[in-house]
C-alpha cells in the first residue's frame, strides 16, 4: 500500500528581526533591526505507512508543531519534498483537508461564536460525511467524551478542557484517513485524558486511521502509538517502534526491596559490594527500602537472589524505566 506520509529533506525557517533587550533596545530596533534566519526544521526525512500510529516527541522548540503544521498544509515548507495521502499539503490544502482530521491542543479552535452542536452539523455538511458514518462517529464521540451537556453551549462559554474535548470530537466526525493530534490532552483532567485516548484507539481500530501525535504526556504515546519519532533541534534523533525505542534506550531495570527490619551496617556493606561486583548499582537506601538498578534483564534474577539472602524481605518490586525518564535522559546527554 502507498505511504500515508512521505517526507524527504523537509526544511522550514522563520525570519525574525533581532533586537536587544530593554527599552533602549526597543528604540534602536525601530531604526534598524537585522533579519535573522531561525531554522525550525532542518532536513527531516521519514515516511509513515497507512494505518501506522506514530508518536512525535521532542522538547519545546524541537520542531514538532512546525512539522505538523507543514504536514497539514498550514505552513509552506522552505524546502524539501512532502506528500501526505499523495497530495502536496500547501498547494492542495482543501483537498487534503477533506481527508484529514487535526487537533491543536494549545489552542482549541472551534468556531468561537457558534454552539458546539451547530459546529458539528456544519462540519458534517462541510466534509460531506455520509449519514451512516456521522451517526457512528458522533455517537461514539459523544459517548466517549461525555459531550451531551456541552452541545448546546456557545464555544466561548466552555472551559479549556471542555473545548478540548469538543475539538477532539469535531476532528474525527468525518472519519478521516489520517489524523494529526498536536498536544491533544493538554488541559484535560485524568479522566478526560483516558476518555480521549479511548476515542483515539477506537478510531484507529474502527477505520484503520493513520495517527500522528505529539504530546508532552508520554502516556498518550505508550497507550496509542506503535512507533516513535524523536526530534531534536529540528532534526531526527530516533525513528523506530515503541518497543525498539524502549529496548534501545531503556536497558535499565529496577529492583525495589523492602526489608522487614533495617539491616546492620556490615550486612548492608556486604550486600552492596556483592551487588556492585555483579555489575548492578545501588541507587538508594532509605530506611528499610533498597533501590537497585540492573543494566540488563539477565542480571536482575541474580541481584534478586542476593537481596533475598541478605535478610527478611517484606515486599519486592520490579520497575522498568518510564518512557518519560528515557526521553529526559536522552536530552540530558544530547
Amino acid at each position: 500500500m502507498e505511504d500515508a506520509i512521505v517526507v524527504k529533506d523537509l526544511r522550514k525557517s522563520y525570519f525574525r528581526r533581532s533586537r536587544e533587550a530593554g527599552l533602549w533596545g526597543a528604540i534602536k530596533a525601530l531604526i534598524h533591526s537585522p533579519k535573522v534566519e531561525v531554522p525550525a526544521v532542518k532536513s527531516l526525512s521519514f515516511s509513515i505507512r497507512r494505518g501506522e500510529t506514530v508518536g512525535l516527541i521532542g522538547e519545546n522548540g524541537a520542531g514538532k508543531s512546525t512539522t505538523i503544521k507543514m504536514l497539514t498544509g498550514i505552513l509552506d515548507p522552505s524546502g524539501g519534498v512532502l506528500r501526505v495521502l499523495g497530495l502536496e499539503p500547501w498547494r492542495q490544502r482543501q483537498q487534503l483537508a477533506r481527508r484529514i482530521g487535526v487537533v491543536f491542543g494549545q489552542r482549541p479552535q472551534l468556531l468561537w461564536d457558534i454552539p458546539v452542536r451547530e459546529t458539528f452539523t456544519l462540519l458534517r455538511d462541510m466534509y460531506d460525511v455520509p449519514a451512516a458514518v456521522y451517526a457512528k462517529t458522533s455517537e461514539t464521540a459523544r459517548h466517549l467524551l461525555d459531550l451531551d451537556d456541552l452541545l448546546k453551549v456557545p464555544v466561548r462559554q466552555l472551559s479549556l478542557g471542555q473545548r478540548m474535548r469538543c475539538d477532539l470530537a469535531a476532528a474525527v466526525l468525518h472519519a478521516p484517513d489520517l489524523i494529526f493530534l498536536d498536544e491533544p490532552t493538554i488541559g484535560l483532567d485524568v479522566v478526560a485524558k483516558r476518555q480521549a485516548r479511548e476515542l483515539i484507539k477506537w478510531l484507529c481500530r474502527e477505520f484503520g486511521t493513520t495517527l500522528v501525535l505529539t504530546t508532552h504526556d508520554l502516556k498518550d504515546i505508550t497507550e496509542t502509538c506503535r512507533r516513535v519519532i524523536l526530534l531534536d533541534k529540528g532534526g531526527l534523533l530516533f525513528d523506530g517502534s515503541l518497543k525498539g525505542f524502549e529496548k534501545h534506550f531503556a536497558k535499565d531495570r529496577r529492583l525495589i526491596a523492602d526489608f522487614a527490619s533495617t539491616l546492620t551496617a556490615p550486612k548492608r556493606r556486604r550486600l552492596e559490594t556483592s551487588l556492585k561486583r555483579l555489575g548492578c548499582q545501588v541507587l538508594a537506601w532509605k530506611g528499610g527500602r533498597l533501590t537497585v538498578s540492573a543494566p540488563r534483564q539477565s542480571l536482575l534474577a541474580q541481584a534478586t537472589r542476593l537481596v533475598l539472602l541478605a535478610g527478611e524481605v517484606e515486599d519486592l518490586n520490579f520497575e522498568r524505566t518510564e518512557i518519560e525518564q528515557i526521553v529526559h535522559q536522552i536530552y540530558a546527554k544530547a
Partner: protein, 263 residues
C-alpha cells in the same frame, strides 16, 4: 468543492453565528447605541461645518445627508456580514488561522462570515434614516429606493474588499492591533464629505485607488443631477468586482506568509 456548496456552508455558518450573538441582549442594545451615537457625532461635526458655511463644495445639507447615509448603510452591511475581517491582525499574531486552514473550504469567505457584529444594525438604521431624510427633503423620485439596495451591495463589497487588502497586509506587518486598518478608515470617514472639496490627488485616490467615492459620492451625484444615472449604476459594480478580485488574490497570497505561532 463547488462554489454553490461553499456558499451554502458559509450561509449556514453565518446563520448559526448570528443566532448566537443575538442571544446577548446587552451587547445588542449597547452596539446599537454605540453605532448610532457615532453617526450622531459625525452629524454634530457636519453641523459645525455647516454653521460656518452653508454650502460644502456646492452641496446643501440634505444632499450631504445622502452621502452620509450611503456610507453608514454600506458600513452596516459590511459589519453585519463580514466584520471578522477586522480581526485578521489579531488572528495572525496569535496563530489562530491554524484551525481554519484545516477545514476543506476557502479560507477567506468562511472566515469573513463567522463573526457578525450586532452594532451593524445601528449603522443600518442610522444609514437608512439619514438617506431617507435627505431623499425626502430633496423630493427624490421613488426609483431611488429601487436603486438603493444595488448601491448598498456594491458599496459593501468595495468597503469589505479594501479592508481585506488591509487584512492581507497584516500577514506581512505583524502588529497586534492592525493600525493600518485605521488609515483606510480615516479615508472612509473623509469620503463622506463631497469629494470636490478636496485637492485633485485626494479625489483621484478616493475614486480610483481606494474607491470609497463610488460607495456614496458617485451615486449621490447622480441623484442630485451632477452625473448621468447610468454611470452611477455601472461604475460601482465594476469597481466592486475589481476590488473583490484584487482583495481575494492578495489575501490568499498573504496566507503564504502566515507563520502560525509557538514552536
Amino acid at each position: 468543492m463547488g462554489w454553490r456548496k461553499e456558499l451554502s456552508i458559509c450561509f449556514k455558518a453565518f446563520n448559526a453565528a448570528l443566532q448566537t450573538k443575538l442571544e446577548y441582549r446587552a451587547d445588542f442594545v449597547l452596539g446599537l447605541t454605540g453605532a448610532i451615537g457615532f453617526q450622531a457625532a459625525s452629524l454634530g461635526m457636519l453641523s459645525v461645518l455647516l454653521h460656518s458655511t452653508e454650502l460644502l463644495g456646492g452641496w446643501r445639507g440634505p444632499e450631504i445627508l445622502l452621502l452620509f447615509g450611503l456610507t453608514a448603510l454600506t458600513q452596516g452591511l459590511s459589519e453585519l456580514f463580514f466584520n471578522h475581517i477586522w480581526y485578521v491582525p489579531l488572528y495572525v499574531v496569535r496563530g489562530q488561522f491554524d484551525r481554519l486552514l484545516t477545514y476543506p473550504v476557502s479560507t477567506l469567505p468562511f472566515f469573513l462570515v463567522t463573526s457578525p457584529e450586532l452594532h451593524a444594525f445601528g449603522n443600518l438604521i442610522a444609514g437608512l434614516t439619514l438617506f431617507s431624510v435627505g431623499a425626502i427633503k430633496l423630493g427624490l423620485p421613488w426609483t431611488v429606493w429601487a436603486l438603493l439596495p444595488w448601491w448598498a451591495v456594491c458599496g459593501c463589497l468595495i468597503h469589505t474588499a479594501v479592508l481585506t487588502l488591509c487584512g492581507a497586509l497584516s500577514f506581512k506587518i505583524v502588529g497586534s492591533y492592525g493600525q493600518h486598518y485605521w488609515v483606510s478608515n480615516a479615508l472612509l470617514q473623509a469620503s463622506r464629505y463631497p469629494l470636490n472639496i478636496y485637492p485633485r490627488f485626494m479625489q483621484g485616490l478616493l475614486l480610483v485607488l481606494l474607491p470609497f467615492g463610488l460607495i456614496n459620492y458617485v451615486p449621490a451625484s447622480a441623484l442630485t443631477q451632477r452625473l448621468p444615472l447610468a454611470l452611477a449604476i455601472i461604475a460601482p459594480a465594476l469597481a466592486a468586482a475589481l476590488c473583490v478580485s484584487v482583495a481575494w488574490t492578495a489575501f490568499n497570497h498573504g496566507l503564504r506568509y502566515y507563520e502560525s505561532s509557538g514552536s
